[in-house]
């Protein structure tokens, strides 16, 4: 073997060195999932006084892993409630209040309420800078005793000017769904 080939082989051997010395393991840091919403709490307080009714969806490990848990509430017949929405990211300690983020960007967000329980109506009690509804504050009125469901939807970047959207009709809203949770809503 002549010298040239020997030096080529040596070069090749040297170039292989990184393969020998890099056998180590990856040790990544988990990302801080600050955008996740783990918990939705919808608190309904009777305007005439009395105990508040709480609806809650909680899923601490996000989209994967274990399924979320749902807490349903029962409303009294022929009553008016003040509704207040709270969103938390409990994957962080202390828990982060996502409601504030929504409040700051209220023009880009809107809650929609789809209720199948007869005689229950949910109206918006707040507005954004353009005088369009947001849905962090609501007014809920019940009629006679009945049972059904309530679906709470939070849309990011909906078209609030589209037909029906500011009245709470989601059909033409578009945008992305950040939250969609269905509760059992019974009126007694």
């Amino acid at each position: 073997m002549n010298q040239k080939i020997q030096s080529l082989v040596l070069l090749f051997g040297l170039a292989m060195l990184p393969f020998v010395f890099t056998s180590c393991e990856k040790d990544p840091e988990p990302p801080i999932e600050e955008e996740v919403i783990t918990t939705l709490t919808y608190t309904l307080t009777p305007t005439g006084g009395g105990n508040a009714v709480i609806f809650r969806f909680q899923d601490l490990d996000g989209d994967g892993g274990n399924a979320g848990t749902i807490t349903n509430g029962t409303l009294a017949a022929n009553t008016t409630y003040t509704g207040s929405m709270e969103l938390l990211n409990e994957s962080e300690t202390p828990a982060e209040d996502v409601t504030e983020e929504i409040n700051e960007e209220d023009e880009e967000h809107q809650f929609f309420f789809q209720v199948t329980t007869p005689d229950v109506t949910i109206g918006y009690a707040d507005v954004d800078g353009n005088n369009n509804p947001v849905g962090l504050a609501t007014t809920v009125t019940t009629g006679a005793a009945a049972s059904g469901t309530m679906t709470v939807i939070l849309r990011h970047e909906p078209n609030k000017d589209a037909s029906g959207v500011s009245d709470g009709d989601i059909t033409n809203a578009g945008g992305e769904t950040d939250i969609e949770v269905t509760f059992t809503l019974d009126v007694q």
């Binding site: 990856k26 990544p28 840091e29 955008e35 700051e104």
Partner: protein, 755 residues
Amino acid sequence: MTTIRAQDCTLMISGNVVDTDTHDGLRDANIFLEGTQNGTISDDEGYFEIKNLCEGDYHLVISHVGCEPHYLFVELYQDTILHLHLDHAHHVLEGAVVSGQSSKSTTQTVQVLNEQKILDDINENLALQLEDITGVSILRSGSSIAKPIVHGLYGNRLTILNNGIAQSGQQWGNDHSPEIDPLVANKIKVIKGVSGLEYPGSNLGAVILVEPKRIGNEPHLHGRVSYFFETNGFGHGLNAQIQQQLPRFSWKLNGTYKRSGDRSTPDYLLRNTGGQEANMALQLEKNWSDASSLNVYFSSFNTDLGVLRGSHIGNLTDLEAALQQEIPFFTSDTFTYRINPPKQKVGHQLAKLNLKHFLNDSQWLDFTAAAQFNNRKEFDVRRSGRSDIPALSIQQFTYFLEGKYQQEWDSGWSLKTGMQFNLIDNTNNPETGILPLIPDYYSYEVGTYAIARLKQRRLTYEFGARYDNIIQNVATFTDDVPREVVQYNEVYHNFGLSSGFNLKLNEHLSLDYNLGYASRNPGINELYSSGLHQGVSGIEEGDVNLVPEYALKSTLSLAGNVRERFSFESLLYYQDIRDYIFLRPTGDVRLTIRGAFPVFRYEQSHARIWGWDAMMFYQLNEPLSIKATYSFIQGDDLTNNEALIYIPSNQLSGVLKYNISKWKGLENLAFEITNKYVFRQDRITDEQDFVAPPDGYYLLGLETSTDIQFSKTRLRILFKVDNALNTRYRDYLNRQRYFADDWGVNATLGLTLRF
């Protein structure tokens, strides 16, 4: 200063021009001496002579109707005889060629896009350019994101070699285009047979080779500049290439800049579908002696791609709402170049060093070292100003080493053998604040192969074997909180075997047969994906228990060529894959705080893919020719008794071309009418997709082009109209079809100046 005396000007350049493929003499070829008014035309047999030339340096341009022009530098000091070979541009099929002298040197079915074709499609990315080859389809996500599919296989199963180096990036993603600028290449080849075992990567699918040409022997600075403008999206771009051979080394520099805004369908603008691209490549060559040469190559690819705003959706309810929309949400009447989230920002850098050493005339060694750095960031529409933070941010570093030995014997035998090392280091940047879909990992790959070939007068026989050892070192996170790191260490062994022959039946007919068996280990995404894939609005789950898949593929091709007038190629292929890994809808729906999401899981099935690619070219008379292609493909999941998803539709196309060699000052004047019909993919059932596959569609294309020779430069002008009838359509393999129509009419003007 030398004074030119009359007696110096008695020299002659003569010779003949032949077709590279058929070896027939080409008549009416233009031979022009740049910088002079001197030139001539070849006779019936392809012979020519130019007399009364003075001693000196000459640049020759040899052009022929339907051929890519040939450029040659001659230092003239005595009478010179030239034998010139011209490639025919309209025979895009290399396989359809039966050489008059001997059998071809490979048993593979190879199809080629040449430099002129690449520049004529300057406004298209790599995948769109490849679509012109029969049997190649593209999987698209909107306007500018496209990846090639060859014979039904893509992504992890398709190897793309950029200047000999296997492209290494996030190929697993259906919405990830290959990060290669086709304008850097002078030749793009698709090996459709049982792919060459000498190339690293998967041995199951085809191989796409993107190849820059070697630098010519031109001592002066030469190059080309191309510019295009297109009406759809008001896209425009510039590509320039310059090269020179210096006494010590040769160099070539290539750069591209492209930009486009919102594309449009026949009825509305596709909001946020613009794109921007800036690329460059540098090539250096040095020869020490006849025996040793060094090649250095560096390329940089950088792009920003917009994703249709209306295709960015939340959960299943959003998807259903979007599917109901005639015109996508967020559609605007205002055109813009601006690219907002959702968007992708991708960079890919490649550095390569290649050393070739001839031990003697029949033995040589080849060493390659290459490094690639791929950086992919994807931006989603996020809350509270987080849209500027990528939702996916991955860096991949790949280090590659190869040693190759080749020997040829007088008996016709040749041997090619080599060893390859590949190291991939994949890292997610934690900046995203989102649990990554693909984990961090190292992958160590060592491969070795040997290919023996016997070339006889009418028969070429080939046999090869390959072995790869792959060690994957993966770190994933747990599904539940608090998140912990879970380590996986897997070792895989891949085997490949192939054999084939090429038989020249007679002067006009050639037969190729290939048979291959290969295994592929499950990819990182198939094993460890976990979480929400926003682009497809589904939860994707890998399965760590997947086993390697085994494939048997055979191809049979028959090609014929009768002088210049008629040529055809027919290619049949059949592939049987055991434990074929694919993402299957489970039918389950997972409830999250964001609503319901369908769950997809990587599963294994017994799959079968088979098809037929056919091409026919016929020269009706002197200026008029027709070319017809047809591709048929069928993919079945034999385990679940249903069709495979993402299998291309069948396609039929016909091109009528009128091409004259010279008209007034215009050379190689051509008019083309392209008709393309894509059939409906009607084998997919309703359970397999969110919506039924769209209807078949017909597209009309018009094109005209010509070359103009000036004293020292040559100009090519091209004007084409795609989707000339402004047809409204949606394509099965374009994921944007759930939300919007495909592009409407697009007119493109292209100019290329060579100097």
